[in-house]
């Protein structure tokens, strides 16, 4: 079985699955049970200065559902820990003492001045914790007070606070980034400039999950009003994957380790984050939805996958897909494929037909006995039929071999790679020499 042992910026854990800073890591009771369940590490829910913050006493979460009330997206308006600082520190120390092989990272959020950082970092260090994560991401509540995302949205502040943190502790410093910005590379570069050992991303996304159409108020509704919250869960994974990849494939940023966060629900999600550059992953919503036990599937799944791929260490998986993330302009325009419907698998629902006929290229035919076929002369290989087909692998995209005529264009499929930068329709094309 593959070895899942993980070393992230010097922080060792038996597997790359950490629980993210959030309600699951709020206190000793939870974290002990998480470690018993098999989690490799935790990022303890964010500590702040006393007097501790308070939370609303109405609903704190809102949700988006798929079929059968399967939770796809979760929105929260929880703040950082609402318990005294010393209580948390005492508990962290006890748990770390009993689980020395697990990663214990402590999330922190204090005001944007050096003194509070100078005060809190030694206290954390004293617990025996393995590292700290600077919460520059929390998009609600704390940001109104100049913390969380209010810092994370200003690269100069990120750099400044990171520098203070590095100057006041020997522990590795991970900077957690907010996705509520336009270019994730800017805050990542700032963290790097401040001396961060790593970045973690994404934090939650500004969101209103739904509107109560009887109360005319956003959900979750507290006494008739609602505030935007932070969105997470499977729905945000594509956004998180892209942001991780943007950093991982940036020449300047490529060296900074990434802890991947955002909708990791299964081992497969974790593997995808790692392939795009994450050294490990952090999980929250999946645990909040299904409980701590899911880590067992993550461990067995990633091991099985790595065995299949003859990988013996997670480092062999990390960044494996990064070289294949490129810009649109470098995609091969000479690559031609066509949709192909496997008639043995087709259940004749006709969704591909409706999608193609109504919204795409009228490239699927329907016979009176409900046989659906691709019209190669019209198919642009957009993939919509594949996406809407309810049967896995029923419709596939088949590449046309070079030398064969594409019936749509009437042109022979070229063997050579050619992209937009050299295309004759591109006004700024550089002629292929």
């Amino acid at each position: 079985m593959a070895n899942l042992q993980s070393d992230f910026v010097g922080i060792k854990s038996p597997n790359p699955f950490w629980l993210a800073s959030a309600p699951p890591t709020d206190k000793e009771y939870n974290v002990r049970r998480a470690f018993e369940a098999g989690w490799g590490g935790v990022v303890w829910k964010t500590l702040g200065l006393d007097p501790h913050v308070v939370n609303v006493n109405g609903p704190r979460y809102g949700a988006i559902y798929g079929a059968d009330r399967r939770l796809l997206g979760l929105n929260n308006i929880e703040l950082i820990t609402d318990r005294p600082l010393q209580t948390n520190l005492d508990e962290i120390k006890l748990v770390k003492r009993d689980y020395p092989d697990r990663a214990m990272v402590v999330s922190l959020m204090v005001p944007c001045e050096e003194d509070p950082w100078k005060m809190i970092l030694p206290l954390v260090e004293e617990t025996g914790a393995d590292g700290v994560e600077l919460n520059f991401g929390c998009p609600h509540g704390m940001s109104e007070r100049g913390m969380g995302a209010a810092v994370g949205q200003v690269p100069e502040y990120i750099e400044m606070v990171t520098r203070w943190a590095k100057a006041n502790t020997r522990m590795p410093v991970i900077v957690k980034l907010t996705p509520n910005i336009t270019d994730i590379r800017k805050p990542a570069a700032a963290a790097m400039a401040g001396g961060a050992d790593a970045v973690s991303l994404i934090n939650t996304i500004n969101s209103i999950t739904s509107v109560n159409l009887d109360l005319f108020a956003p959900e979750p509704t507290i006494d008739g009003k609602g505030a935007h919250g932070g969105y997470c869960g499977p729905a945000v994974k594509p956004i998180a994957l892209n942001m991780v990849a943007e950093i991982a494939r940036d020449f300047e940023l490529a060296a900074i380790p990434i802890s991947g966060i955002g909708g990791v629900t299964t081992w497969r999600d974790a593997a995808e984050f790692m392939a795009l550059g994450a050294g490990n992953v952090q999980v929250c919503t999946a645990a909040m939805t299904y409980g701590f036990k899911i880590v067992q599937e993550m461990i067995s799944g990633l091991s099985e996958y790595m065995d299949d791929k003859d990988m013996t260490s997670t480092s062999q998986l990390v960044r494996k897909a990064v070289p294949n993330v490129t810009d649109w302009k470098y995609l091969n325009l000479n690559y031609v494929s066509k949709a192909k419907i496997n008639q043995d698998l087709c259940i004749s629902c006709g969704r591909c037909y409706a999608a193609c006929e109504d919204t795409s290229h009228q490239a699927i035919s329907m016979s009176s006995n409900r046989i659906f076929d691709v019209i190669d002369g019209e198919c642009v290989a957009c993939n919509l039929c594949v996406n809407v087909c309810p049967v896995e692998d029923c419709i596939t995209m088949e590449a046309i071999s070079p030398g064969i005529v594409d019936p749509r264009t009437g042109k022979v499929v070229e063997r050579d790679y050619a992209n937009w930068t050299t295309h004759p329709n591109n006004p700024v094309a550089t002629a292929a020499e």
């Binding site: 079929a67 059968d68 259940i347 969704r351 037909y353 329907m366 409900r370």
Partner: protein
């Protein structure tokens, strides 16, 4: 209880009160709202969906399921009821396993169709529970139509015509409206007085007068109706039954399954319904299966369904056959009754085995029987009707008969299967044809 269960002969009260209640409760309990959402989520919203094609009333099934899935069951009900005003009853009694659910692409791919029938019931129950009628009558056209028979075809036709503004008079032979919905459908498919409640709800459209206990050919006649009304729709169903025509078929205990089912539906106290310890039902259609299952549910110890051909040729669907078997009905095939023996009352029935071509084999079998229910087909027993074809009123197009101004539909007319849903479709389509005729 066991004592009465074993009592010889024909006797009432074989079971305890709880057993009757359980045996005659809903065959498929209603979906609750969460179950309905789960079931609705399974619909693929197929293009030009096969389930619509398979529905005799062309209900837009993917649309109504999507309306349920998005939390608007009353809109779903309107989608259903605009095509099939008896959508509530059809949701309960349609052999969906041979109609919409058989065509469902998930049946084809997984053997587990979307629960279309139960979803339809969820929607129609939701709307009908509010006791408001969803359709409005158009301004009166001053045209009058006589509808003979208040079964599914007659009610469907009457509702559509009334909605279009015509004044409708419905004549019905019996003391209660609903036809086979009230008298012919197995009790466990439509418990709690649903059939009458649905009729009352349907009549809320207004513009429908009811004349009860008026039998065509006795109390009223077609020529007079045709003279008095602008149009006539005949939907009397089939009032006669085929006789066994064998030795001893006049013995006490030999009765028509149609009468047995009607008596069962009308009795208030099931423990007062007599049933034999040994019951033999002859036939292979839905009536035979319903009679056999309900005999068993009433506490008969041994119930045999005897059919002259093989299981495959039975008109009852595989689902119905399996349901019968699961209730303990013994299905015997390739048997033709030859004689009923007994001293005044039936004691046993003798069958001969026949081959696939219905030729006798000379091999006999006797079954003990306290009751014999015959379900070997119904007939149209009435005079002065439009031209007939194979014993039914001959119709063309949307129910046109050989007589000008007279339409027919449902079981008394040719065309279509003898299903509630088919009758509803025929009634509706005839109404549209009559309407076109009246307003031109």
């Amino acid at each position: 209880m066991t004592e009465f269960h074993l009592s010889p002969g024909v006797t009432a009260g074989r079971l305890g009160a709880e057993a009757y209640a359980e045996n005659f409760s809903d065959l498929h309990p209603a979906l609750d709202s969460h179950e309905a959402l789960v079931a609705a989520d399974r619909c693929y919203f197929c293009h030009d969906a096969p389930c619509i094609t398979a529905c005799p009333t062309d209900i837009d099934i993917p649309l109504f399921i999507r309306q349920i899935a998005t939390g608007t069951p009353d809109s779903a009900a309107k989608t259903i009821l605009s095509q099939n005003i008896l959508g509530g009853m059809c949701a309960r009694v349609c052999p969906t396993e041979t109609l919409c659910e058989e065509a469902c692409v998930r049946e084809v791919s997984e053997g587990k169709p979307v629960l279309i029938g139960q979803l339809q019931r969820f929607a129609t129950d939701h709307l009908q529970a509010q006791e408001a009628h969803p359709f409005q009558r158009s301004a009166s056209t001053g045209k009058t139509v006589a509808v003979v028979g208040a079964g599914p075809a007659g009610l469907s036709c009457a509702h559509r015509l009334a909605m279009l503004g015509h004044d409708v008079t419905v004549f019905d032979a019996r003391s209660k409206l609903g036809g086979l919905n009230e008298f012919g459908i197995a009790a466990y498919k439509t418990p709690a007085g649903f059939a009458q409640a649905e009729v009352d709800w349907l009549l809320q459209i207004g513009g429908i007068e009811i004349e009860q206990e008026k039998i065509l050919g006795i109390d009223i006649n077609l020529a007079a109706l045709n003279a008095k009304f602008n149009a006539v729709f005949l939907a009397m169903g089939l009032n006669g039954v085929n006789d066994l025509n064998i030795n001893g078929d006049d013995k006490s205990g030999v009765i028509s399954a149609v009468d047995f089912i009607a008596d069962l539906r009308q009795i208030d106290d099931l423990s007062a319904m007599p049933i034999g310890r040994n019951v033999v039902v002859i036939g292979g259609g839905m009536t035979a299966v319903d009679a056999a299952i309900q005999s068993k549910l009433l506490g008969a110890l041994n119930v045999t369904l005897a059919y002259r051909r093989g299981r495959k040729q039975m008109n009852a669907s595989k689902f119905e056959q399996d349901l019968a078997a699961s209730k303990g009905v013994h299905i015997m095939t390739n048997l033709v009754p030859v004689a009923i023996n007994g001293n005044g009352s039936v004691r046993e029935i003798q069958f001969e085995y026949v081959d696939a071509d219905m030729n006798g084999t000379g091999q006999m079998v006797q079954l003990p029987a306290d009751q014999v229910f015959s379900a070997i087909g119904q007939t149209l027993d009435c005079s002065d009707l439009p031209a007939l074809e194979q014993g039914k009123i001959s119709v063309t197009g949307a129910g046109k008969t050989s007589i000008d101004g007279v339409w027919a539909g449902g079981d008394c007319a040719t065309g279509g299967d003898d299903l509630t849903v088919t009758a509803v479709a025929e009634g509706r389509d005839a109404a549209m044809d009559i309407h076109a005729h009246l307003i031109r």
